[in-house]
């Protein structure tokens, strides 16, 4: 099986030429750090930008073809309406820029409609049910179930903005002031965990990924060529 895989992964001469060309423009791009802005580094930069734009343009055209032009050609003429609506976005570049408001309005309205119902069901109702269920069944363990229920209740009090009903939580003389304070502590613990996790993970992964992708792989592939 591994032999088959090696066979499948053998590169063709064209792929090899493209790879070496990529290596050359990558090295050129990297020289920006030591040699500054030179023709060599600019060449790499412009190749990257140009290739990315060309590829994206091609893929977006394919996308339009797959879910718009093909359907229109197959007889779904009413799809011309959203196509025209989309094209109106470009009127922003002309003196008829007011027309660009129609696609924005349509996108906002349809987007909100598509989003709203499922968001209430998934992000509000399902979570209330799950929190209540965990408290009743004491799952995944009694401590977690109770602490998460307390955290949910306390954090919600932090976001009560009604002067009439929230003063007891937000005023320092309020009877339930410390419930809001506890909610704030839960949030700080949550944000601290997230920031630490994401920052440390990102920071440490950049160097390791650089070592593996930019150093290890090319060396091994060059050794394999020899």
């Amino acid at each position: 099986m591994l032999d088959d895989l090696e066979e499948a992964r053998k590169v063709t001469p064209i792929e090899l030429i493209i790879t070496w060309f990529s290596v050359a423009i990558s090295i050129g791009h990297f020289t920006l750090m030591w040699l500054g802005d030179t023709y060599f580094s600019s060449f790499g930069e412009r190749w990257y930008v140009g290739a990315t734009v060309a590829y994206s343009f091609f893929v977006v055209f394919q996308s339009l073809k797959a879910n718009c032009f093909d359907f229109i050609a197959a007889g779904k003429w009413w799809l011309i309406i959203p196509l025209i609506l989309g094209l109106l976005s470009f009127t922003r570049l002309t003196k008829y820029r007011w027309a660009a408001r129609y696609p924005v309005a349509a996108l906002s309205g349809i987007g909100l409609g598509v989003f709203f119902g499922f968001n209430i069901r998934g992000s509000i109702l399902a979570i209330i049910t799950a929190t209540a269920n965990e408290l009743v069944t004491l799952q995944p363990d009694p401590f977690s179930a109770i602490i998460s229920f307390i955290a949910v209740v306390c954090v919600i009090t932090y976001y009560l903005y009604s002067e009439k009903y929230a003063t007891i939580f937000h005023s320092q003389t309020g009877k339930l002031y410390y419930v809001m304070r506890l909610g704030r502590l839960f949030m700080m613990a949550s944000f601290g965990y997230l920031l630490g996790y994401v920052s440390v993970a990102f920071g440490l992964e950049i160097l390791t990924t650089f070592f593996v992708v930019v150093i290890k792989r090319p060396i091994l592939e060059l050794l394999a060529l020899l």
Partner: protein
């Protein structure tokens, strides 16, 4: 930032960087693996895949930002494709960014899933084209007969009506599990809203946990969160890849970082207990 470390003035920023680079290089020269305990969310991710009987249908929604996502973690992708193919699971790959198309085509070609696992394009797996429109486009394929009405062709230009897989899988009601992959965090909740909530289908996620944490246990039942979990997955399925090596390198870096933190705290505590000058951080 100070050029010198107060607790240990002989260690400068430059020396710290050199030490970090050397620590990273050690596993490259002498590869070794530190123990990798598999976390609950990674185990759950695998269990969801393992529980699918052969012939089940997996809808894979991919919005990983660009091609570099695949390049940086390609051996994790390989281990995932191998695991899916060994379970004989049918895959409908739907990319939600321009790079996803290329990643799927390249991963399936590099792993040679047709030669090694006998997969047939159009029957056992299919790669769809990128659809613009984000959540509205996701909603468009979530209707009745959504795969047939939302797409006209697959990524290779074959009309969807001619692909055998879509004779039996016409919409999301025929899907058994959804795999959601993202790096732009708003895409995960979009797919959960339009697919999982609408059709009540369980999902597993490759992406940062905090973006879908609210759905965990209700619609999401497994998560691969960045390099650590990728290494755990490779270790769990027995297909070791570069992520395990990267984790060893990262562990060594973390060790240095923690050691410096402990020394710094110790130095600060001793100095303070002796009544020395307080630092700027007080």
């Amino acid at each position: 930032m100070a050029e010198q470390w107060e607790a240990f003035p002989v260690i400068t920023r430059k020396k710290w960087l050199i030490a970090t680079v050397i620590l990273c290089a050690i596993p490259l020269v002498y590869p070794f693996v530190l123990p990798i305990p598999v976390s609950g969310r990674t185990q759950a991710f695998y269990d969801q895949l393992a529980a699918l009987p052969p012939g089940s249908v997996l809808l894979w929604g991919d919005s990983a930002a660009d091609v570099s996502t695949y390049v940086n973690a390609r051996e994790f992708w390989w281990s995932l494709w191998d695991t899916i193919c060994m379970k004989e699971i049918k895959v409908i790959f739907t990319p939600w960014n321009a790079g996803g198309v290329l990643c799927a085509e390249q991963a399936t070609a590099e792993r040679d899933i047709e030669g090694r696992f006998g997969y047939e394009y159009g029957i056992d797996y299919v790669i769809m084209p990128y659809l613009t429109g984000q959540e509205m486009a996701m909603a468009s394929i979530a209707g009745v007969d959504g795969f047939l009405t939302g797409y006209s062709t697959d990524n290779r230009g074959n009309p969807v009506g001619t692909l055998p897989i879509f004779q039996e899988v016409r919409d999301l009601s025929d899907v058994d599990l959804i795999l959601i992959q993202y790096s732009a965090t708003e895409y995960g909740p979009m797919m959960i809203r339009q697919w999982c909530i609408k059709w009540d289908i369980p999902s597993i996620v490759i992406g940062q946990f905090y973006a879908v944490g609210e759905f965990y246990g209700t619609y999401v039942f497994g998560n691969i969160d960045k390099m650590l979990a990728m290494a755990e997955f490779e270790y769990l399925v027995g297909i070791p890849g570069e992520e395990i090596l990267k984790m060893t390198m990262r562990d060594l870096q973390s060790l240095l970082l923690l050691a410096m933190l402990f020394v710094g705290f110790g130095w600060y505590s001793v100095r303070r207990s002796r009544g020395g000058e307080e630092s700027d951080t007080d």
